[in-house]
Amino acid sequence: MNMPSPGPFNPQSPAPESLPASASAPQPVRPSLAELFTAFAIISLSGFGGVLAWSRRMMVEERKWLTAEQFNEAYALCAFLPGPNIVNFSVVFGSRFRGPIGAAVALAGLLGPPVILVILIGAVYAHYGDLPVLRRMLTGVASAAAGLMMATVAKMARPLFRNRAVVGPLIALATFGAIGVMHWPLPLVLMAIVPVSIAQAWLRA
């Protein structure tokens, strides 16, 4: 990006906070540490399967911290970094605005509240997990969650099977066979499949 933006990508640039945002162009707002924390806490706690949609709404539409393109770029980057996407996003986003401390604060906002919540839930489960009623309900929920994942797979697969593509579907099937059916260790399987998959994508480009 070569435009003279106040640089989400350059946190070290002098950003005089005392000055009102009266500069020439409508510049992105730079969130404070407290705003970073609450923003990611809200995204996190409203994120039932829709963390991406929520973060876009907040970052781009409501608070205007990122343009739509900046959001897409940041998210695309985080989607193929190892580790949970939204966790990576909080780090990349926080650091771009407020350096290492911003990254830590955004991450704490994202993970703090749900971690506390899930530990409380874990404690309740440790006491009542054997109740038949609870077990039956959880079995129902797990079954439904598996169904939701299947629907996601079907939707993801649609573009993959277009144009009579063969290699992509084969790679997906091989991954499923190795992990879902054979239960082979993930690191070994990925170290074999990922290079092949990226190489074929590269050659077809």
Binding site: G47, G49, G50, V51, A76, F80, P82, G83, P84, N85, V87, V91, S95, R96, A103, L110, L111, P113, V115, L117, V118, I121, Y125, A126, M137, L138, G140, V141, A142, S143, A144, A145, A146, G147, L148, M150, A151, V153, A154, M156, A157, L160, G168, P169, I171, T175, F176, I179, G180, V181, H183, L186, P187, L190, V194, S197, I198, A199, W202, A205
Partner: protein
Amino acid sequence: MKDSGGTLLTLAGFFATVSLFAIGGANSAVPEMHRYAVDMQHWLSDRQFSDTFALAQLTPGPNVIIVTLIGYHVAGIVGALVTTLAMCGPTCVFAFFVGRAAERFKGSAWHGALSRGLIPVTLGLTASSAAVIATTSGYNWAALAITLGTAFTAYFVRVHPLWAFAVAALLGLSGLV
């Protein structure tokens, strides 16, 4: 627990490794977590694993909190914090530095090849997670019917996960499952 320090180290080592291979999100690593925590370490039963997955789905927040719950089950609050840090720490440091360097590589050819190459793998992993959860949450017909019914509905209609979970929990409550 006779060797809690050892258990914590095992937890940390395993989840730090898994995090590096969790492409497409924490749910992609669910089969690996099941393989290790249930089949190899016997930290949880099949049943407890599927319960844990369900509870993590019911808790608002990123999917990664399933590791917090596994850690809590194995070694209490300390275990919960250790697994969460192990799962997020190394990849966060990586994301921090890559995020700062990424600007220079934007739009380069390998960027596209990398993401296009990872899509079919992520697809296979998500399908695996669905299969592992469907098979650990009981082999009975009612559970299978809920899974397929949800899959079918969610494919054609936009379903909020909470609605799907509420209906499925009620079906479970009614004694069907």
